[in-house]
């Protein structure tokens, strides 16, 4: 899906319009879409991507390592009201072991032994074991 940046033609929008149209049409109750509306939606999406990436980088911890990470994005969705509509698809990540503990806790209705918790506590955030919360 490469939009060519070089060459004489300076495109107004680089996101593929056909793809955007497909997504728009998948929305219930939408019958037809005027060409201008399609263009604007594509363009707005570009601005949105820029905004999301830029904001997340600026406010995130990834920049300590000159990187934009998933965690930065997820953090933005959670903290910034404008991006809250993304919270469901950008959930925070937790270790599988922690998640299982949470489930257990819920079952037992609040009483997890302190000893158990100390034993199983892990500090690093290995992405291999992540589960979505």
């Amino acid at each position: 899906m490469a939009a060519r940046p070089s060459g004489g033609e300076n495109r107004l929008v680089s996101l593929p319009l056909s793809r955007i149209r497909v997504i728009m049409k998948s929305s219930p109750e939408v019958s037809s879409i005027n060409q201008d509306a399609l263009f604007l939606t594509a363009r707005a999406t570009e601005l949105f991507v820029q905004y999301l990436a830029s904001y997340s980088y600026k406010h995130g911890r990834g920049k300590e390592k000159r990187a934009l990470t998933y965690s930065d994005l997820s953090h933005t969705a959670e903290e910034c009201e404008t991006f809250q509509f993304l919270a469901d698809i950008l959930p925070k990540k937790i270790l599988a072991s922690k998640y299982l503990k949470m489930l257990e806790k819920e079952k037992r209705d609040g009483g997890v032994k302190e000893e158990e918790e100390e034993k199983e506590e892990e500090e690093d955030e290995s992405e291999d074991e992540d589960a979505e919360s």
Binding site: S18, F39, A44, Q50
Partner: protein, 142 residues
């Protein structure tokens, strides 16, 4: 997701936007790219649904530019409205230009040239869509 990589990294080519591009040398994890791509899809859906509400309010069945702009305000992306309006103007001029170019071609054509120019027109119109569709990594099933 090649388009996304290009978009996020080519700060030099970014059309007038509001936010500073990511600084040079910033790495975007694969996970982050995938997340942004999903976020973009959700954004389109949200914007479309919102715009559609405005169209329905106006008892129209076709989403128009105004509906999309109203949706942006509703979604609290007012900052997009001015640059969008600018882009729209340029886009409309471009479309108009294309239309007139086509009319001129038709006028000048004799039967042999007519066939040729029709091919060109089709290429011209569909060029963007075709390229975009051809280059898509995933096929979307309808």
């Amino acid at each position: 997701m090649a388009w996304l990589n290009w978009w996020l990294y080519s700060s030099g080519h970014q059309p007038v936007g509001l936010d500073p591009p990511l600084p040079d040398g910033v790495n975007i994890s694969k996970e982050a790219r995938s997340a942004i791509s999903r976020a973009a899809s959700v954004f389109v859906l949200y914007a479309t649904s919102c715009a559609n509400n405005f169209a329905m309010k106006g008892k129209r069945k076709t989403l128009n530019a105004g509906d999309v702009l109203s949706a942006m305000e509703e979604m609290e992306f007012q900052r997009f409205v001015a640059p969008l309006k600018e882009s729209l103007e340029v886009y409309r001029r471009e479309q108009k230009g294309k239309k007139e170019a086509r009319k001129d071609k038709d006028k000048k054509a004799d039967s042999e040239e007519q066939d040729k120019s029709r091919e060109e027109e089709n290429d011209d119109d569909d060029e963007r869509m075709e390229e975009e569709e051809q280059n898509e990594e995933e096929e979307v099933d309808n």
